[in-house]
Point group: C2
Chain length 294, copies 2
DNA sequence: TAAAAATACTCCATAGGTATTTTAT
DNA sequence: ATAAAATACCTATGGAGTATTTTTA
């Protein structure tokens, strides 16, 4: 049995007239009669009453088979549509890794717009450090990540979509706010508020490196897991902080941001993925993120 | 798209190896590759990863399509099975008309056994007189009937499956029980218990005819709708009754049955049906009733 | 080098066409 | 006499086979 038999059967069952059905199917009448006979032979069931050659009528079995055939072809249609949507990356699941840094600006922006365009794609978000994301990609636990170069694993693909610098966050009342630019060594005497190193080892080390160029150690008095908490502590006059510049978007009264005078490392954000397991959905997402490259 | 494509797709998806799948399908490998390519072209979706020619892998879309295809083919299978059961008269509905006479012996016997053999056939029973059954057949309200010839409509088919005679039911205390056979004219002086004529006009008229041969009228004192009630009234000594002989099976203390001496009309029971609307289920039923012809 | 899928071609089975017959209105 | 399905026979598309190439492990 082939779908052809089912399609032809529907035509005859609806027209109750072989010649008209044949016309509708753009074939001649004899082959249609043959195909229906084949179908009946394979089913070992008469689908049409053919007492006379003039009046074609469905048998009880034929009526039931017609309903079943409708359902079957409708399901085939939806199955094909579903498969196509998946094949085009319009539906399915997308697992995204991200660092704590992108959570404040870039990621919400991208996801909001992506959601609009690909409303059927289920997004699963996992906060992971850069190196955790690399491992998660290799384990297929995530499809893409937002991380910060350099990567340890050079088999992964990545594309920078954003870069920023470091700035100093000062309490508004602090005397250093008088200056337009801050020299790092001026911060040595200040209590420094940081995040735990495990949260973003790369960023942490680069901030530390600023001081180690001068062969001195900063005076870390507080650690906070959330960037918002760090800014809050600064606002409260508990100390100063060195943070990526996008975090200036966390406008908070009592906090003033100042650029650093010295050469400062660039903090890059990149989408990372595995080229070998590029699914349509990931492809769409990667293409989508391009819109957000400055 | 044809079912062939789906069947081939399943083979490749399960084997993840074109050559092995081709072997399983008893075709050569190249045509299998072609058919899968056709399928992918029609869907406009890649179902298999074919980065290398060695490792065949399902894409996400392919995985979903595989599940859908399983469901589709399973449904086709059950649809075919259902259609075949209906085509063979093994399932469906059978609407049966019957007169009050057959309810006491013949019908329960037939239905009990029919149910066992055709457990999936839903039986719908309608108590109708012979002429009501004839009309119901023409209106397709019933498929078969158990009725009593002669029929008014000679376009209907019928087959006698049972015939019986009339007997007299007497109270056990009655003096006529002394006789082995009863003459009808002896009943004239007795109170006669009958059923309303509309219940079985043919039978009623034939009982009356017994008396009218003698140009006399019986003395009908009671009417009861149920045969069981008539026998009950006889048992209570309220009068005598003339009844079809199978009703002797209603054994009841205080009632004695006696044959009638005179020539008495034969009461026939026939299955009746419309030859033009013979469905497999009716055919099976008719054949089945043949086992009950004495 | 071996193994597997893809390509190129060849062939024939069968879907579909044409002509005709059968049958019922 | 007309109309419709079935039958008989023919044609040709395309499914399947064979030989070969390509590609990767």
């Amino acid at each position: 049995m082939e779908l052809r038999h089912l399609r032809y059967f529907i035509a005859v069952a609806e027209e109750l007239h072989f010649s008209k059905a044949a016309k509708r199917l753009h074939i001649a009448q004899p082959p249609l009669s043959q195909q229906i006979q084949q179908l009946e032979a394979e089913l070992e069931v008469k689908l049409f009453h053919r007492k006379t050659k003039q009046q074609v009528q469905l048998t009880e079995a034929g009526k039931v088979f017609l309903q079943e055939t409708y359902r079957l072809l409708a399901q085939l249609k939806t199955a094909v549509a579903l498969t196509q949507r998946i094949g085009r990356g319009q539906t399915g699941q997308l697992r995204i890794g991200f660092t704590s840094l992108v959570i404040y600006d870039l990621l919400p922006l991208i996801l909001r717009e992506f959601r609009e365009q690909y409303s059927e794609v289920e997004l699963v978000l996992l906060e992971l450090t850069t190196s955790q994301q690399e491992q998660a990609l290799k384990d297929f636990r995530i499809h893409v990540g937002f991380a910060h170069p350099p990567l340890e694993d050079d088999t992964l693909s990545y594309k920078c979509i954003h870069s920023e610098t470091l700035v100093v966050a000062l309490p508004a009342t602090h005397s250093l706010t008088q200056k337009e630019h801050i020299r790092v060594h001026l911060l040595l005497s200040e209590p420094l508020i940081m995040f735990p190193r495990y949260l973003a080892p790369g960023l942490y080390d680069r901030i530390m490196a600023l001081f180690q160029q001068k062969k001195v150690k900063p005076n870390i008095t507080q650690e906070a897991v959330q960037m918002q908490t760090i800014i809050g502590l600064v606002s409260a006059g508990m100390g100063v902080a060195i943070i990526p510049s996008t975090l200036q978007n966390l406008q908070r009264s009592g906090v003033v941001y100042r650029p650093i005078l010295e050469e400062v490392p660039v903090i890059e954000t990149a989408v990372i993925w595995q080229q070998e397991s590029l699914t349509p959905i990931v492809e769409n997402f990667l293409q989508f993120t391009q819109k957000f490259v400055l």
